[in-house]
Symmetry: C2
Subunit: 223 residues, 2 copies
């Protein structure tokens, strides 16, 4: 299956041309980020919690303290919505109405499950660190039993999903193009600065090369 | 009232020292951004929709097409949760367990209402454009009746809210500091690039100065 089949839940109601349901498009958006917003409802009250995520196949994963309200609620397997958004530009048009932003966003639906098996949980924690900094895991102080117990890892198989992309820049009404009003696009992106050594590094500890590029996280380098 | 009083809904359950309920802290987070994630539930199904917002006093506002599912649902005055998150850094510790991110986030609770009065609605649209680019509104082609009708503006008085801030960099277990493992902080920030003129500017139209700084939106300039 190369695409998700939209239902009333995930199908874009308007601006259909901005909507995408194919995995290539969706997963490219997911794989260009690391921060998501997880939505859930407890007794009708909606909550939105920001957290880090990563994707493996048709599932997304996130984790946190075993005491987290969000995780404790979602591990019951209730309905969940997970959103990822990248802002690419501010669109400054000739009229207030046509001001907009260029963006790429994904909205995922599914039910989360707790990763129970300790070995699988450890593998997921490794996958998360490797996703953030490829090659980092093997050099770290290993996770101990207490830490493994204190961490909840949730996975969610993506039941359905939609992506929404605007990459059009300025679109003004035809008759407005003649007006002497400046219009244009201000590109927006996330940047990673130069890594700062922790103040308490053991003598002789050198900064590894793999902390100098985060393009896989949608972070361009700024130096 | 300088602070919100947390209830079970907004009080941080864990890591209490990261929690803040005072307006100074909360509003500084809100005023350093323009993208939020709005959470709501329709028939128990949670949804999270990204959108632009702005704050005026103790209220936040957002807008969109009158046909939007999110807006049509929320204008009924149902419970809503609005989250704003700024990522400030990747925390690379000596153990996988202590990897983290530095961030500032705000979670707001309330019920939205539709701004019905056309004059008030127009004033809100102006406030939004002025928030994005101070001084821009007066030079734009004015909003017409059709556009005003096609736009829904929602406001939400903040009933309660919490902010969560991590700005600690690396915090490792005491016994891990002696290990020859590199640890440090990778700063992360949003950048605005150089504004690009729209390809169809009327002859002689110059780029105004006010599109060259977006620090009020939490966007540093990159040139």
């Amino acid at each position: 299956m190369k695409s998700f089949t939209p239902t009333a839940r995930s199908k874009l109601k308007r601006l259909h041309k901005r909507g995408h349901y194919d995995k290539d498009t969706l997963y490219a958006i997911l794989d260009s980020g690391f921060l998501c917003h997880v939505g859930y409802a407890i007794g009708g009250q909606p909550y939105v919690t920001p957290t880090c995520y990563w994707r493996e196949g048709d599932s997304v994963y996130w984790h946190g303290s075993s005491a987290s309200r969000m995780l404790r609620h979602l591990e019951k397997g209730v309905d969940c919505c997970l959103a990822v958004t990248h802002v690419d530009g501010l669109v400054l048009a000739r009229s207030g109405f046509h001001h907009s932003i260029d963006y790429r966003s994904a909205m995922l639906f599914g039910k989360a499950h707790k990763v129970e098996d300790p070995a699988e949980k450890l593998a997921k924690m490794e996958a998360f660190v490797e996703r953030m900094v490829p090659g980092r895991w093997k050099g770290l102080r290993p996770v101990n039993k207490q830490e493994l117990k204190a961490t909840t890892v949730l996975g969610m198989r993506i039941e359905e999903a939609s992506a929404k992309i605007r990459a059009a820049g300025v679109i003004d009404d035809e008759e407005d193009y003649q007006l002497p009003i400046w219009a244009g696009l201000v590109p927006v992106s996330m940047h990673a600065g130069v890594a700062k050594d922790d103040g308490r590094l053991a003598p002789g500890t050198k900064r590894p090369k793999n902390v100098e590029s985060f393009v896989h996280l949608g972070l361009a380098a700024k130096r």
